[in-house]
Each structure stands twice: as C-alpha cells, then as structure tokens.
Amino acid sequence: MVPDALCAFTRTQKILVLSPDPTLARLFDAAFTPAEAEVTVLCQGRGAVEALFTDPPDMLVVDAALADIPGPTLVTMVKSENVYRQLPVALIMDETALGPDIDWCAVEVDELLTRPLTSAMLRARVTLALARATRSLDANPLTKLPGNTSIIGRIQDLIDRQEDFALAYADLDYFKSFNDKYGFSRGDEVLMMTARIIVNTVRSVGGPTAFVGHVGGDDFVFILAIDRVEEACKAVVASFDGIVPHFYDADDRNRGFIQSVDREGNRRSFPLMAISIAVVFNRDGRLKHFGEASQTAMTLKKKAKENPKSCYVLDKRQG
C-alpha cells in the first residue's frame, strides 16, 4: 500500500483532465498530493482520446468548454466502449449553463462539477466518484457482495498487519447439475439464498474481522476471528442443508436426487446440493501473501469435496 494514499486505494490514482482552463489545473494541484493522485491535464480533446484508450486512467474529468470536441460527445465516445464503461467520468460546466434542455439520462457522466469550484469541493467530489466506482465495479452483480478485488485487498491487508484471522472458502457441490436441470434463474435463487445464510451467520457470530465476499459463481469467502469460525461453519452447514431442499421441485425433493447430464454428456443422478467449506488460519503472522492462503484453502477444499454431504475442513496444521 502506498503511504498517504487516498482512501483505501492501494496505489496512486491516475486522473486525466481534459480542459482548456488553466485555473482548473491549479485547483487539482491544490486538491491532491502527488502520492494521492497523478493528474494529467490536456487542453484538447482530439489527441487525448487515443491516450485515454491505450492507457486508461482511474478517472476522466471532461470540461464542457473543450474547444475541439463537445464535452458530452467525448463522454459518449468513451462510454460506448464496454471496456471503459466502468471508468468514472466527471463533467465540468458553469452552473449558469445548467438549463432545462439538458437530457441528463442521455449524458453518461457519473459526476457533475460546476463552476465556481473550490479545491475542497473538487477533492470531495472526485474522491467520492473514485470510491463509488470501485464499489460498483467490484460488487457481485447478483448478490451485491464485495468481489475479488475487495476480497484480495482485505486478506492482504490483514496479512500485512499480521492480524490473526480465519479465512473460509465455501462452495456448492452439484450446483452445476442443478443449474443444468432447472436453468440459470433457479440457480441464481440458490446463490442468493446461500449468500444470505453466510452473511447473516457471519454477522451474528460477529467479531471485528468479520467479512463476506462473493468470488463469483458458487464460490464464497468469509473471514472471522479464529475462535469463532468453527461455530459459523456449523451454523452455515446446518442452515444450508435445512433450506436447500425447498429450492427443488417437490418430486425431486422427495426422491432426494435429480436426473441430469454430467460433464461427459451421460445421464446420471446427482444428490441434492451440499456446501463445502475449507478454513485456513493465520496465526502469529505465519502467512506472508494472499496466494499462500488461497493455495492452502484449495488443497483443503479437495478434502472437503470427498464428502458428498455438506461439511467443513479446518487446516489441521494450525487449527
């Protein structure tokens, strides 16, 4: 982590400003230290677009008073490329120019800054836009839980601070066959249910390190204090096993298995879904890097998967 970084950002934020206005450049200088943000000011739109596409910044600030390309047009050019859609864009204009004829639904900006502008206001609005962008970019679109970037950031941060914690990786057995038979939207129901169980359990077991993330698909992560993790695992397993049968049609539930197609294309029967949890511990700063934690967890996960029923496996070497 960069010392004196802005908010919880792990590195200096790159901000590209397109404006012919020299006072704006001075305002940015006053608003951010070089460690917080590296601000590049370009006074023309045309050459900037190429630079923008090859080396995208963390945030783009466009002045409506740009001489060669109208600000909103430039914003639309950037936003219509799906890979840059998540790039937060702020539009700067004079407050007096805010008329009723602007169609704000059509202008794809994420933030609006109006002149007259102070450096304090500039700092606040730009920082908020950056923070908001990481949240929405990272959150799992289905469950809205923090995604990979936040998960890795959280784990690495705990490792760096040499804090004791338990890291649990959870996933579902036979989720794929359920999805194949019942379709994606029924699969999403199960993921939403699983997320609720994990979040509520972790929240009620509590503790200062409590955290839940959604890696994607049927993979979830949670972090808890070492002495509380086993209680949480037991509760998650019990709740999941009690609730999941209700997500099957009545006849499948009564039979206790479903007919579906395996990876080789053969019809066979699959048990009802189960949850497997692998738990890794960090004691006395033993872990040095996030990768170590996830690797150990994956090895343990294989062990948990040998059991077709829901279960959890604790890392014995330190557990």
Partner: protein, 279 residues
C-alpha cells in the same frame, strides 16, 4: 355483487400495510431479540405463535428483493435468511390493535390452536416438514384479520348476519363482503408470493377435497381447524364446529384408531396452551 365493488374491496384488502397484532407476543419477541444470547430457535418459536408476525416474516423473506420468491415456508428458515437486523425492523414497525376486542383475542387463540393441531396431525402421519403444516394452520384465518383491518365498516355487518341467521362466519362474509376469508387468503398468498403449499392450505381449508397441488396440506389444515373448534379452544367467529369433510380423512388415510391417538395428544397440548395469554 357488482364486479367493480368487488374489485374495489379486493384493492383495499391488498393495500394492507402495517397489519397490527396483539401486544403480548410482540413485547416478548422484542425483549428476546434485544438479548445478546437469544437464539434463532427461541425467536422462531415465539413468532410461530403469532399469526401476524409470522405472516410478515414470510411475506418479507418471499419478496422478490431477496431473490427467491415463493420458496420459504418455515419461520426458522425465514429468520436465518432475513437475519436479526431485518427481523428487528419488522418488530419495531409492527403496531398493536388500538381497540382489542375479545373476539380478536379469541381468533388469535383459535389460530394458534389450529397451528398446533395441524402440526400434530402432520407429525402423526409422518409427513415431511411438519412445521409447514403448522404454519398453514396458524395463518388459515389471516383473511379474517386483514378484512377486519382493511374493511372495518363491514365487520359489524358480518357479525350481525352470523347472529341473526345463525349461519357460519364464512357464509356471512360471502354475503356481506362478496367473498370469504378463504378467497382473501388466496389473494394475499399470491400478492405476497407465499409458497404454493402454504397458499393451498390457506385457500382450501374449507374445501380441502378441491385442492389441486397440495391436497394433504389443505386436508390437514381443514382437520386442524375442525379439531381445535371441537375442543372449544379460542374463538373463530363461529359458535360450534364446522362441517368435517369426510373426503379429507380419506385423502389423509386416517383410521379411527389414529383419531383416538390424535385426540389424546391434542388435549394434552391444549391444556399446556391454556396458560398462554395474548393480552
């Protein structure tokens, strides 16, 4: 009954917000959720005694916001999925009846008795998820509560018809409202996205042999309703018992010997309940 009047009344029924309950269970649940050592099981057990709190919890967990509408029929599961935060906000936002009539207290007792009876029948018949039968038993007269709250001006008329004609409450509802509480239950179950088995229990408990998808559920609630009336526990709005559909016993395959066992068990449970007060 003109169609537009019926539509207007249905609209008023479904517009129900902030359904009030009786104070006793609400107070106890509030105390329990504030205690740091209380468990989900304890809270679920208490909520399962109150038809309004149970309905609110199931309505919430089955709402599309959470992403799995129509899946959850158990109060315990609902609490696990909602979490204590949401539960606390449900409890805080629930009001109590301003005027508490004796009949309303009687209806709460009748509903709890029917829940207990339905659960006992389901367990005796070794049905899976017996708790869900108890939930349907608990909620089987919810339509009466909602009608009282949403169409308060018509409640005295229903009671007058019951007294004057010496007819069943259901018949009086149909005459005064244009529909019975069983129909209201079906509307509410659809509107709140309650699971199909609960819906059938609620909307077919007076004609269980007509239930299409879950006839056992409708028959269990029908029998539970009948039995709790026979034991004269609580007050459903009728003096005496309703007609017991013989088909219900056939569908459930209940033999006379089972019946005796059932009555013994129920009378024991109702004696325990007799100490409970809703006010």
């Amino acid at each position: 009954m003109p169609e537009d009047l019926r539509t207007e009344r249905k609209g008023r029924i479904l517009a129900v917000r902030d359904l009030p309950t009786l104070p006793k269970v609400l107070e106890e649940v509030s105390k329990l959720v504030e205690r740091p050592d209380s468990t989900t099981e304890q809270v679920a057990k208490l909520i399962s005694m109150d038809q309004v709190l149970s309905a609110k919890v199931l309505k919430m967990v089955n709402s599309p916001v959470y992403g799995f509408p129509g899946r959850i029929s158990s109060i315990g599961h609902a609490l696990v999925l909602l979490g204590f935060n949401v539960l606390r906000s449900i409890i805080v936002s629930t009001s109590v009846f301003e005027v508490m009539s004796e009949n309303m207290v009687g209806l709460w007792e009748h509903s709890l008795g029917a829940a207990m009876a339905s659960g006992t029948i389901a367990r005796m018949l070794h049905f899976k998820d017996a708790e869900e039968y108890a939930v349907a038993g608990l909620l089987h007269d919810l339509g009466k509560v909602v009608a009282t709250v949403q169409l308060p001006d018509l409640k005295p008329d229903i009671e007058r018809v019951v007294a004057e004609r010496d007819c069943f409450y259901l018949e009086a509802e149909r005459e005064v409202l244009g529909f019975g509480h069983d129909r209201i239950n079906a509307w509410l179950a659809d509107h709140w996205k309650l699971p199909a088995n609960i819906k059938e229990g609620l909307s077919y408990h007076h004609k269980p042999h007509l239930a299409q998808l879950y006839p056992e559920m409708a028959c269990v609630v029908h029998l539970g309703d009948f039995l709790v009336r026979s034991f004269e526990y609580g007050y459903s709005g009728d003096v005496g018992v309703t007609y017991l559909q013989p088909e219900a016993l056939k569908i459930l395959k209940i033999r006379p010997a089972d019946f005796e066992k059932l009555l013994d068990e129920l009378s024991g449970q109702l004696v325990e309940l007799a100490d409970l007060r809703f006010t």
